[in-house]
């Protein structure tokens, strides 16, 4: 079973070996509404934890995307910018955004598990 971690800025990170696949959560896409634009970094870009890695825009507003861990971008979902609605339709599947090769493994433990994230969201909603 794969491990999925969550950031307070509503990105998810699924651990795959020494890398994480990153996207935004179902809660985040629901808050944003219809996604019409996704801007992703190029492969090879170096990211620091909590640094901006891209932008997502819904019909309502533009939002920044933040890296859940430090590392370098090894792969991006190339088809996503032309199909931004995938973020709404399948935020943890087809709507994945980038794959980061982790440079500081310890940072993973600072992220939330699913149950903790669910509590976090429930509190934020009130």
């Amino acid at each position: 079973m794969s491990t999925v971690k969550f950031a307070k800025s509503h990105e998810w990170a699924r651990v795959e070996g020494d890398a994480v696949v990153v996207g935004i959560t179902d809660y985040a896409q629901k808050q944003l509404g219809d996604i019409v634009f996704v801007d992703l970094p190029k492969a090879g870009t170096a990211l620091v934890r909590a640094g901006q890695f891209g932008t997502v825009e819904s019909t309502k507003a533009a939002s920044e995307l933040y890296a859940p861990v430090s590392g370098s971008v090894v792969e991006i979902n190339k088809d996503l910018p032309l199909n931004p609605q995938w973020v709404n339709e399948d935020p943890m599947g087809k709507g994945w955004m980038i794959k980061i090769k982790i440079s500081k493994v310890g940072e993973l433990s600072d992220l939330m598990d699913e149950t903790v994230y669910k509590d976090f969201v429930a509190k934020e909603a009130h």
Binding site: G33, D34, V36, T59, A62
Partner: protein, 370 residues
């Protein structure tokens, strides 16, 4: 501050609307998806709660003179049962508000923007003349707008009468099911549609009836988000974006609204703008690159700022990013290349003629051939 609620507030909540503050009103911005809502209004039919709009009734023997003096379009051309797009303009030729004037048998029914209603009412009182009575009916008026190709069939079922002879930009004041209703064939989408004004206490009755008749005809509840998308696609200006106290109708490309053969407040200043030639013009543009244009973004040409976006959106009916802007006149011709600054990057756009979608209102010409 407590937000004002329309008679349909509970209905919106029952349909899981996302409620926002719009000019002090609690209104749905969307139910599930504003893109889906904007598509439905062009494919089948959309129902919009526009009860926040202001309704001001002008009556009395001098009502026509009064409106003629305050507006640039010729109100005397309206026969009873017709309506007209018009403006209230200030002394310096700017726009106080844009409005629809419906000529009813006993009065002129003026429909104004919610955000401007108090300003307009104060302006009317300030300029009031003997023989013109001004009544603000906004508080007890509900307004539903039904828009799209299926709206005529739904209206016929709801009210049990044919709309075959009901022309675009015409209005009827009637008693239906023992309730007073004003119906106009008009809207803010570019589609065939109807706007229905009734007493707020009858709101629930009509809402339920429209929904039950609309169910088989693909009726979709639509929020303010889709209303904005649809009016941008149709090329219609919105006060606070394309219109303001400081913008001339000649800059806003509303020359057709200004009738030079009558006198009205702001005429001299407006004609001076026209004769001197405007420096900026309202234009429509389509993004050539994938980027979301939004109000306030600068428009450039070779490092020089030549304009600013006033409205922008993703158009689900065209699958393009479109918008409106004020640009230097030398860039206002269709085909002119623009560069839109989004955050720290520049994206290509091109000036294109309004409307972006075919207008399908039933103008008299098309009625005759139908």
């Amino acid at each position: 501050m407590d937000l004002r609620k329309t008679p349909f507030y509970q209905k919106h909540l029952e349909h899981n609307a996302k409620i926002v503050d719009f000019s002090g009103w609690a209104l749905p911005v969307e139910y599930a998806s504003m893109l889906k809502e904007a598509k439905a209004a062009r494919l089948t039919c959309g129902l919009f709660d526009a009860s926040h709009m202001g309704e001001i009734r002008i009556s009395g023997p001098k009502a026509l003179d009064f409106l003629q003096r305050l507006t640039p379009n010729d109100v005397s051309r309206l026969a009873v049962g017709q309506m007209q797009y018009n403006l209230f303009t200030n002394q310096s030729g700017g726009v106080i508000d844009d409005l629809m004037i419906c000529r009813l048998p006993d009065s002129f029914y003026c429909v104004v923007n919610a955000s401007n209603k108090d300003k307009v009412f104060a302006w009317l009182l300030k300029n009031q003349q003997a023989g013109a009575r001004i009544v603000d009916e906004s508080d007890n008026t509900a307004l539903l707008s039904l828009q799209g190709p299926n709206s005529a069939r739904i209206i016929e079922e709801v009210f049990g009468q044919s709309v075959r002879d009901f022309k675009y930009m015409h209005v009827r004041s009637q008693i239906l099911d023992k309730r007073p209703v004003i119906i106009s064939r008009s809207g803010y989408t570019g589609e065939d549609g109807f706007e229905l004004y009734f007493s707020e206490r009858d709101g629930g009755f009509w809402w339920d009836k429209i929904l039950s008749c609309g169910r088989q005809r693909g009726l979709q509840l639509c929020g303010l988000g889709s209303r904005d998308i649809l009016r941008i696609e149709a090329g219609y200006p919105l006060y606070g974006h394309e219109l303001s106290d400081e913008i001339s109708p000649f800059e806003a490309n509303l020359n057709w609204v200004v009738n030079g053969n009558k006198d009205f407040i702001g005429k001299a200043a407006m004609l001076e703008v026209k004769n001197n030639g405007v420096e900026r013009l309202r234009v429509g543009f389509v993004m050539q690159d994938r980027a979301v244009p939004r109000q306030g973004y600068p428009i450039c040409s070779r490092d020089k700022m030549i304009g600013e976006i006033t409205s922008g959106t993703y158009s689900p009916n065209l699958d393009k990013f479109v918008g409106m802007a004020y640009v230097d006149v030398s860039f206002s011709q269709p085909g002119s290349q623009l560069s839109v600054q989004v955050r720290d990057r520049f994206y290509n756009a091109r000036v294109e003629r309004f409307p972006f979608v075919p207008i399908r209102t039933l103008r008299e010409k098309s009625l005759k051939t139908a």
